[in-house]
């Protein structure tokens, strides 16, 4: 029933000069207020990017409250400082803190995904995350156990199972997200990236061993240019390949109710994007950061299409309250999941 679907491309309509003005004022105010304004900056930045992300003629919106995020950040910061101090107290407290941090991770994950989902809006219908901490503990425990037992070889399974858990518990209003990507493709993506990473690493290692003796008095030198190029190739190429694959695996085939998302991220395009963004940001002493972010958003949107079946309609789901604590932790730990935008 292919003909039932009507493609609706994602578009990003923001522009760099406009976002530049917002970013400059945000950064300056965040510095002047010693970070307090960062909660407001976060909300307004999200609003700028969400509101400029258009699909099927409508935009997303973000309705998180800065006060809630600030509260979450203060609590999260206080907890982290307390943990840090405790961990330096004695070996016993250090082990305790470590265990506590590990135990808290799934809960923080759930709280933070939930907070983000709940505050994302499309056509006045909020997203939801129906995951419960208990499930998250089971998923994390299983994946972590396999990860450790396999000496890290099962890492793709960890990524896969967390993604599956997060996506399948996502909803837009009452429309559930469905996702049937197989675990094997996660292993494939990581293996492909390693195929590029490994040779680069070996060449780099051999070169580094030959160019020894740079330190100390004689220290002639910096790394030869060829080695630098190789080093950045090693950092960038596998990352771009993995990123493109993982994004395609996440979005391509993702169903929201009867509607289906398709994605075609290209490693080569991502590579060009990363490289030019990084160089220009460095050369401009950070002044081109807004431009780089807008470019990334434009590319990301251009890779996504929603195939609408019939009418794109969702009913509202009964609201639940999420506290912003998770959001604070999410900022510190960078757990955000880009589902829904």
């Amino acid at each position: 029933m292919q003909h039932d679907y009507r493609p609706a491309a994602f578009r990003f309509t923001g522009n760099a000069s406009e976002y530049f003005r917002i970013w400059v004022i945000h950064t300056a105010l965040t510095l002047l207020t010693l970070g307090v304004f960062s909660a407001w900056a976060k909300v307004r930045t999200k609003q700028y990017f969400y509101r400029n992300t258009v699909v099927d003629g409508s935009s997303f919106d973000y309705v998180g409250k800065p006060g809630a995020i600030l509260r979450g950040r203060v609590i999260a910061g206080a907890v982290l400082v307390a943990l840090f101090l405790l961990s330096h107290y004695s070996l016993g407290t250090y082990a305790g803190v470590l265990a506590l941090t590990l135990l808290a991770t799934p809960w923080v994950l759930v709280a933070s995904i939930g907070f983000n989902a709940q505050n994302t809006l499309y056509r006045n219908i909020r997203f939801h995350f129906t995951g419960r901490a208990k499930e998250a503990y089971l998923v994390c425990a299983k994946a972590a156990l396999l990860h450790v037992l396999s000496c890290g070889l099962a890492y793709p399974y960890l990524v896969f199972s967390l993604t599956r858990y997060a996506v399948r518990r996502y909803r837009w209003g009452e429309l559930p997200f469905e996702w049937n990507t197989g675990c094997a493709r996660y292993f494939g993506a990581h293996m492909l990236a390693s195929c590029f990473a490994l040779p680069l690493y070996l060449v780099l290692f051999a070169l580094a061993a030959r160019a020894r003796g740079g330190a100390g008095v004689g220290g002639l030198s910096g790394p030869p240019l060829a080695m630098l190029v190789l080093f950045y190739a090693y950092l960038l190429i596998p990352a771009a390949i993995l990123r493109a694959r993982l994004k395609n695996l996440l979005y391509d085939g993702l169903a929201v109710g009867e509607h289906v998302v398709s994605a075609n991220f290209r490693a080569w395009e991502l590579l060009k994007l990363y490289l030019t963004n990084t160089l220009l940001v460095v050369l401009s002493v950070g002044l081109l950061i807004p431009w780089a972010r807008v470019r990334a958003a434009v590319y990301e949107a251009s890779c996504l299409t929603l195939h609408v079946r019939g009418e794109l309609v969702a009913k509202v789901a009964p609201p639940t309250d999420r506290r912003a604590l998770g959001e604070g932790f999410a900022d510190l730990g960078d757990f955000e999941l880009g589902v829904g935008t």
């Binding site: 400029n52 056509r123 100390g216």
Partner: protein, 340 residues
């Protein structure tokens, strides 16, 4: 009376209805197109704060929402409602292009100032406040790591080591506060290293390479300079601070956190390292002069080391180099030594 078109979402389903909205002189907002005409008092209508030039949203009582790109009218509603002072201020700031340009430039300049001056100053204070045991511990573990990886025991005859040790002691005596100690190793070519705990490592290859003991002493003096200025700990502190700053400031720009912070941090690291080398060179010249060693030996050593190393020094990127270019160092050394 103003009228504009908007998309109305009732908040129960995502279905959009095209409505026309107008406001009358009594500050009542009228909506037609959703069944029976609706009217809301303007004071019950909330406006989602503006960010940039994206759509504006009117939040109606009961959870419904109207989205429109007609900024003019929404601005007028805001004017009638009165905007909060903070919102108005933000908007004024963001619209003020000259102000934004000045602030942006100030941000970039202060970033440069923090990296070039702020972080080194901070590192110096931080390192001074560290207990001596930290440096001792680090030095000890660094030496053991080196001994297990790249360094082998020295094969120099004992009398030769003794000779150098005696001249080392002569230099070290001038800095009784420094916990200086000399070690001989083999394995990494003509070189000398300083560890945070005051250990100076001289390689057999350097001793064999030197045409004059003055050259060995010059290398040692340079390393004592690193110890004197606590360069090891300072560089560690400076680089990690620069990396943290770069990661926080640049954030996820390139969406590959690994790189976006690494490149600026690597540039900063190389810059700090070059500054330390220059400090150590200056220190070495002063120490050699007071110790009665001709500083010209240092320039000679560097010149000959340069000749035996990489075939084409042009294939290097000066901004990422850990040491200043050799010709520059030699010119500086000969400048300071001839000035005396």
């Amino acid at each position: 009376m103003m009228e504009f078109a908007a998309n109305h979402y009732d908040g129960v389903t995502s279905r959009a209805r095209e409505v026309s909205v107008w406001i009358d002189d009594q500050n009542v907002l009228h909506l037609s197109g959703v069944g029976a005409p609706l009217g809301y008092s303007l004071s019950d209508v909330q406006i989602a704060p503006r960010v940039g030039s994206s759509f504006r949203a009117l939040l109606l009582p009961g959870g419904a929402r109207c989205e429109t790109y007609d900024r003019r009218v929404v601005d007028e509603i805001e004017r009638r409602q009165g905007v909060s002072r903070a919102t108005a201020l933000l908007r004024r700031l963001e619209r003020n292009v000259p102000l934004v340009c000045v602030v942006g430039l100030a941000l970039a300049l202060s970033l440069v100032a923090v990296v070039l001056a702020g972080i080194p100053a901070l590192a110096e204070r931080a390192v001074r406040s560290l207990p001596a045991s930290v440096a001792q511990q680090l030095g000890k573990s660094a030496l053991s790591v080196l001994d297990h990886t790249e360094l082998r025991p020295s094969e120099l005859p004992i009398w030769r080591r003794f000779e150098i040790q005696r001249r080392f002691d002569g230099l070290a005596r001038r800095y009784p506060a420094l916990p200086l100690a000399l070690e001989f190793r083999r394995g990494i070519g003509p070189n000398a290293l300083a560890l945070p705990d005051g250990t100076v490592i001289v390689t057999d290859e350097l001793v064999e390479f030197a045409r004059d003991d003055g050259e060995i002493l010059a290398a040692i003096a340079h390393e004592i300079g690193h110890v004197h200025h606590t360069h090891g700990l300072r560089l560690a502190f400076e680089s990690s601070t620069a990396l943290a700053l770069a990661s926080a400031y640049v954030g996820d720009v390139a969406a590959v956190t690994a790189l976006s912070g690494v490149l600026p941090a690597a540039l900063a690291h190389a810059r700090y390292s070059r500054e330390h080398e220059q400090e150590a060179d200056d220190f070495a010249v002063a120490l050699l002069v007071t110790g009665g060693v001709e500083p010209q030996h240092f320039a000679n050593l560097l010149r000959r080391l340069g000749r035996r190393s990489l075939p084409d020094p042009g294939a290097q990127f000066a901004y990422l180099a850990s040491h200043p270019p050799l010709p520059e160092r030699i010119a500086r050394l000969e400048g300071t030594s001839s000035a005396r």
